[in-house]
Amino acid sequence: MSMQKGSEGEEAKGNVPKYWPILYVLYRKKRICNSFDIQKDLYLAKMAGNAPIEYAFVDDYCGRPCCTSIKQDAISLADQGYVNVSFENEWIFEITEEGVKKVEDFIDKLPVEVRKSFDYILEEYGSLPMVKLRDYLYGWHSRLVAPEEHEQLKRQLLDETELLLSEFSCAESNGNSLFLRGSIDYCMLILKRENLDDTTQKDNLLTFVDGYIRKILLLKEITRGNTEILRHICLNDFKEDFELIQEASMVYDVLPALYEEDVDLAVFVED
């Protein structure tokens, strides 16, 4: 694995391995749910905290700064025994005792100001929901979108969700097709219910839904609607994206999360 090769080389030279910020953030938080949360913490530590992090970020299909290498490296750290990785609707990362020892090995090699700055970022922004961080830190305030542009996008998304829903409804029912149908249907209800005055919030929510729907359209194209292929595809990343959409919908008070325990089902029924 490339991560291990590079890391071994760096460690041999007495430097900290490239993946150090992943282990460090897990060392501080112990457990992180959703791979994007690790990426978010590292992005902030790099951009706002000036931490010397080698990972490069690019905007993903939802306009979020992301770095898939971080997720891959975090998963690979499980092979080395430093992290326990599992998946339940989203990736869950937990540092192991081995991981703690590893951090304690390299922590002294990190300059004190780097650690302090990293800790400050985690303390300040670590528990804020992703959607709020996006509001405050990613400079989306400056992106002015005309209200009619939002309405156009909503209409287009509603057409696309209806089309996707009808196509996936014809598919043989299995775990994956039920997840896609259910999540598309939930997005459709968001689009129908959403009436946000705050343009930043509206833009965030629509961008998340738009990104998710684009991803499903691509999946449909790749599988050519073949449900037998669809059945065998791992949809973990889709599930994580859907978690983020639910979170945004909940934070902006549009709809409760679909999986929320104490909720009256009537809220998910259209008038």
Binding site: E88, N89, L165, S169, S173, N174, G175, S177, L178, F179, R181, G182, S183, I184, D185, Y186, L189, R231, L258, Y259, D262, V263, D264, L265, A266, F268, V269, E270
Partner: protein, 209 residues
Amino acid sequence: MSAGASKKVIYDANVIIYYCFLHEERIKGKTVTIRAIESTNKIQRLTEQFLIKGVEIETISGVIDEIFDKGIAKIVDEYCDDPRTKDLIGIPARVQITNRIRLRLARKTEGKILRLQHKPWFTVVDYHAKEEEVEAVKSFYESLRGTPKMIEHMRRKGTREAYPSNVDIALLMYSKESGAPIVTKDSDFTYFKHELEQRGLCHGILIDP
């Protein structure tokens, strides 16, 4: 074979799903219990009896994969399409239960099945049947093709295959190897209980009461 005769029983996919398909939901302020109408109570009671008698419950890893692949979705859809469900939750018969509600029920069931796997009395065994054993079971089922019983079974099931899935065959083999009966409602097993037991292709079939 009686429920308490063995110290160990094997659950098939549907039995596990029915056991876990038990949820409370609030609908327009009223609390409604969601469960597979004829099966959940029975398997809940049966499981309680097993536990009182100290019987351990097992399944094989292939069954768990099958549950997450197709099993839950199938049972959630069957439940939501049942007119009695719409009566229970108070929606008109012509209205479909939406996909988002179906996903919510599936997700809750998945969560319960994941938690079930952590119970001390429930074990998932990593078991894979040998190819020649799979072929032997398939040959047995094929040998019944053309008999009135098999014709009736295939007609009811709406299938052209005389034999069950590879996971079901592995379940039979595991029953034989472990000396534990399979608790099931699957007609691939229940319809041919006598023949399967007589031929020694499994330890036993315990038809879910």
